[in-house]
């Protein structure tokens, strides 16, 4: 068990295994995304009330869901980095931040575009939307904070603390539609009981959510690989790699 964690902390091992994983995970992700998008755009019925504008759900919800989950990945990586001083956890945390920011951005922009023909506005300061905007600022804050420090260790500590402080935002976002009167409607996918979205529309949505989770994993691994190469540029294993692949 501990040997696994020990291996996890070894950059060449992680680089090699992430390469193997990506070789099959990346194509699967792209196929799942393409299939889900085509299914949602062309092969589901329009919504009885919202018509074709509801099709934005197939990108808006997956981006939002994974943006929330990804924040926990980032915060937990930060915690591990703080407690065990594990450099790999620091690399993981740094790798999460831009991905989370991009997904939150997608959720906000697609949500805004969806809001115009349905609610009648591009933006409203309701609880769900405002807390999602705060999430975007948190992610961007972590990205910026890393650049603000010359010392990588100090940067990592500051970013970990910021990630941990912002953790409370995730349940707030999730529960905002239940706790406060908001324009944004409550969840359609229910974990207990029947979902309030028709099965023919639910299945492509679940496929897209899975595809976005897979996408997050791919991007996380790719970011970590690049970061590791940069940090370990002076080591043997990276220089050997450079000689092998530098000219490709």
């Amino acid at each position: 068990m501990w040997t696994f964690f020990h291996k996890l902390g070894s950059p060449p091992w992680l680089y090699s295994i992430s390469g193997t994983i990506l070789r099959w995970l990346l194509p699967i992700t792209l196929v799942a995304l393409a299939a889900g998008i085509v299914w949602g755009l062309l092969f589901t019925a329009p919504d009885f009330r919202q018509g074709n504008s509801y099709r934005i759900i197939y990108i808006h919800v997956p981006a939002a869901v994974v943006a929330l989950a990804g924040y926990y990945v980032m915060a937990i990586a930060g915690a591990i980095s703080l407690i065990w001083k594990m450099k790999m956890a620091d690399v993981a945390m740094k790798a999460c931040a831009p991905i989370g920011a991009a997904l939150t951005f997608i959720a906000l922009v697609t949500g805004s575009i969806w809001g115009k023909p349905t609610w009648g506005t591009w933006w409203v300061w309701d609880a769900r939307i405002t807390s999602m905007l705060i999430l975007l600022f948190l992610y961007l804050g972590v990205v910026a904070l890393y650049e603000a420090y010359d010392n990588k260790e100090a940067a990592g500590k500051a970013c970990a603390v910021l990630s941990l402080v912002g953790m409370v935002n995730i349940p707030i976002i999730y529960k905002s539609v239940d706790w406060w009167y908001s324009l944004h409607q409550p969840a359609s996918i229910k974990f207990t009981g029947e979902s309030s979205i028709d099965p023919s529309m639910l299945y492509p949505l679940l496929l897209m959510i899975s595809a976005f989770y897979a996408l997050f994993t791919c991007c996380l691994l790719m970011n970590m690989r690049a970061e590791l190469l940069e940090r370990e540029a002076r080591t043997n294993w990276v220089q050997r790699l450079a000689k092998q692949e530098g000219r490709s």
């Binding site: 019925a45 915690a79 703080l82 407690i83 409370v168 707030i172 009167y181």
Partner: protein, 149 residues
């Protein structure tokens, strides 16, 4: 567990709990201000300040929508089935605005207790289904939430 690491773990837990508590308390304290939203029952009870920008949300009462012939002026009532608030709005209403549907109007209450709205937004619920399914539900006597009519 290694004593130094245990110390750091406790520090991490402290950071999370403290920040959550701090943000939670601030959010709870400001909840009235965050909302600035009044259900019709509270407006009827006089709890909404007149002349100040507020939001009133509820359902557009059946049969209450009256459009003017020569302008964009629209009158309708917002209800939460406990009380009703008359609303006046001049402008284009959202596509999803309809009687029996949810809406949120922002504006100021005038002396007659009418909300002079500067913005009217449609609120929809979390139900998604194809039109055929909705039709079938209606024919068998249910509304789209699955409640018997």
């Amino acid at each position: 567990m290694h004593p130094v690491r245990k110390q750091r773990l406790l520090l991490v837990l402290f950071i999370v709990l403290f920040s959550s508590a701090a943000i939670g308390l601030v959010t709870y304290a400001l909840r009235g201000n965050i909302n600035l939203f009044f259900p019709p029952a509270e407006v009827a009870a006089g709890m909404a300040p007149p002349g100040q920008p507020i939001r009133v949300g509820g359902m557009v009462a059946e049969g209450s929508v009256r459009r003017s012939e020569d302008s964009l002026l629209v009158r309708f009532d917002l209800t939460d089935f406990q009380a009703s608030v008359p609303v006046e709005y001049e402008g284009i209403l959202p596509d999803l605005f309809d009687e029996g549907q949810g809406a949120v109007a922002s504006g100021r209450l005038n002396a007659r207790g009418v909300l002079e709205a500067t913005e009217v937004l449609a609120k929809h619920d979390e139900n998604y289904m194809p039109p055929e399914v909705a039709d079938a539900l209606e024919k068998s006597g249910y509304d789209h939430k699955g409640n018997k009519q």
